[in-house]
């Protein structure tokens, strides 16, 4: 193309046009910001968030699990549920992103309770500033909160010791006090190291805070996001088992995310329904011609500013129905057009970014995995009890459209040998 071309007068600057599109199609934007910007097609999963929220509203103490693969839209559904509860419900939703608050790789039983306790305390403090609670109530809340804070972050306390005869002169003052400083680590990391604690000791202060909240506001619904990052299900269960059991006793409704590995793989099944009243599986959305959901997602973000419907179809197909991949491909296609000096996304732009996406999925796959994927493509057979196959699912090389419908990610398939 020539080095200099003059564009027609009166058009929005090219950069502004692409910038606006990029903002609408940002796959790494926070779900909360995207919802507030009005870019979410909230009927995508048949208003799942309303089901989650209304059950939490009507059944105190119920526990619901939201399971889905990476980029399936779990956080969006939870935040939509939170908003619904704030606007329509009779409960107080507390959204907690556990993966942002603590190092999940060292997650301990009691950590979820500690997080909930801290959030409850902060909420109560906010309600005190606008309400007319007595000083006695405020003092009770403060004491309970402090206990929870110590439980969460640990404490340093001075403890009397016994024999002081061997302490040197340099420590004469300490000798006079006859003691040492003992440090007790907390539940939340950071900043303190891991130590197992009896989870029961947090029950009373937490219950106190929750009761005070019920008195001043409403029943609490705890929304725990981020637990799906624990791809290894044993870690997930080690925390959930104790914490959520106590919350059930305290009649706190819970919504929590979980990794796909709790649904699939060997030894799975009964244990989930034993612990949760409802398990919602956020499946991948099929991009068959009759299903216009994916197109609706694009349309809600004004994709037609740069993307024509025919090419949008290609974006939907290559995404495989993984929401984040859908948004990414739409964004990356625009980026290709931008750096190549085009004003609209072309077929070639989408082909290029789909290939890039597929290459990423292809890396690290050995001959056995390729063979499994080809077999899945040809015959539809996929043994989900094999650990290697669960890995393919967790890493999104294989997509689950239902508990029995598995398919190779289309972008990956397009580059497979």
């Amino acid at each position: 193309m020539p080095s200099s071309v003059t564009a027609p007068e009166g058009q929005l600057s090219r950069r502004d046009k692409f910038r606006a599109y990029m903002q609408a199609f940002n796959p790494t934007a926070s779900a909360r910001n995207v919802i507030e910007a009005g870019l979410v097609f909230d009927d995508l999963h048949q208003s799942l968030y309303r089901n989650l929220a209304s059950r939490a509203d009507l059944e105190p103490g119920c526990q619901q699990l939201l399971v889905g693969g990476v980029g399936s839209g779990k956080t969006t559904e939870l935040i939509l549920a939170e908003r619904w509860l704030r606007d329509h419900g009779h409960v107080l939703p507390l959204y907690i992103d556990t993966s942002a608050e603590t190092d999940l790789s060292s997650l301990n039983p009691g950590a979820l309770l500690a997080s909930l306790g801290l959030h409850s305390g902060e909420q109560l403090s906010a309600s005190f500033s606008v309400g007319d609670s007595t000083e006695e109530v405020k003092e009770k809340a403060k004491q309970a909160y402090n206990i929870i804070k110590q439980y969460a972050y640990g404490k340093k306390e001075f403890v009397q010791s016994g024999d002081s005869t061997r302490i040197a002169e340099a420590y004469a003052e300490l000798l006079a006090k006859r003691g040492i400083v003992r440090e007790t680590p907390g539940k939340l990391k950071p900043p303190l190291p891991v130590l197992n604690r009896d989870i029961r000791e947090i029950r009373d202060p937490l219950e106190q805070l929750l009761n005070l909240l019920r008195g001043t506001c409403k029943d609490v619904v705890a929304i725990f996001d981020g637990l799906d990052r624990l791809l290894d299900p044993t870690k997930f269960w080690s925390v959930v088992h104790q914490d959520l059991r106590l919350l059930r006793e305290l009649k706190v409704s819970v919504m929590a995310t979980a990794p796909l590995s709790v649904l699939f793989g060997a030894g799975v099944g009964q244990s989930i329904s034993d612990h949760f009243d409802r398990v919602h599986h956020l499946t991948v959305i099929a991009s068959e011609p009759a299903n216009t959901s994916l197109w609706s997602v694009l349309e809600k973000r004004s994709a037609t500013n740069l993307l024509n419907p025919e090419i949008a179809g290609s974006v939907c197909n290559y995404s495989g129905g993984v929401l984040r991949d859908l948004i990414s491909l739409a964004r990356d296609g625009a980026e290709e057009a931008y750096v190549s000096d085009r004003d609209y996304i072309s077929v070639g732009d989408i082909e290029k970014v789909a290939q890039q996406l597929g290459n990423g999925y292809l890396r690290g796959l050995g001959p056995e995995a390729i063979k499994t994927l080809l077999q899945l493509y040809r015959s539809g057979s996929f043994d989900i009890n094999q650990p290697a196959n669960v890995e393919l699912l967790l890493t999104r090389r294989v997509l689950e459209y239902s508990s029995i419908d598995f398919r190779v990610h289309p972008a990956l398939f397009s580059v497979m040998p």
């Binding site: 193309m1 020539p2 080095s3 200099s4 071309v5 003059t6 564009a7 027609p8 007068e9 058009q11 600057s13 090219r14 950069r15 000096d341």
Partner: protein, 175 residues
């Protein structure tokens, strides 16, 4: 006021120019290229006229020297290699740098801004010569051609980006 005195003042001006150039430091040549490219990218995006910066801006490293060019070395009329603005004006330039410790020094430059047809003067060219001329009154080391090749008006030494500021925010606005 004599011709001799005028020449002495011109020589003194050239000496000051030389000192300024010796003391001034720019970033290393590849960073200066990056800065100029980013600058022109922004200006290009503010215009409706499309200029493909990747194709237009050329860099030639040669030992301790580096040459940064945009457009032809000699302007003989509009070409696709020029930077074109919405007004119909065009820009070409050449910048020679010498890499030294802590960065680079400017050796020479030429920036030619040609106004749209029918405007007077027809062009302005900012030149920095590599060394003083024997007659610094007629040809100061750093000078401006006001649309006439034979006339050279003394001009202060500018940072390569600052000259572009004058071109885009002053000359282009005057078209």
């Amino acid at each position: 006021m004599t011709l001799e005195r005028a020449r002495k003042l011109a020589e003194a001006l050239d000496s000051r120019t030389d000192r300024e150039l010796t003391e001034a430091r720019l970033d290393p040549p590849h960073k200066v290229l990056s800065q100029i490219r980013a600058y022109l990218l922004r200006r290009s995006e503010e215009m409706k006229t499309r200029n493909n910066l990747i194709q237009l801006l050329r860099f030639h490293p040669a030992g301790e020297f580096a040459q940064i060019d945009l457009g032809p070395s000699i302007d003989k009329g509009a070409t696709p290699q020029h930077f074109h603005s919405d007004s119909g004006a065009r820009l070409s330039f050449g910048l020679t740098l010498r890499e030294v410790e802590r960065g680079s020094q400017v050796v020479a430059y030429r920036y030619q801004f040609v106004f749209p047809d029918g405007q007077s003067p027809q062009y302005l060219r900012f030149d920095l010569n590599e060394a003083p001329h024997a007659d610094p009154l007629a040809e100061p080391r750093c000078h401006l051609h006001p649309g006439i090749d034979e006339v050279r008006i003394p001009f202060s030494v500018h940072n390569p980006i600052e000259i572009l500021d004058r071109i885009f925010f002053v000359l282009e606005k005057a078209t």
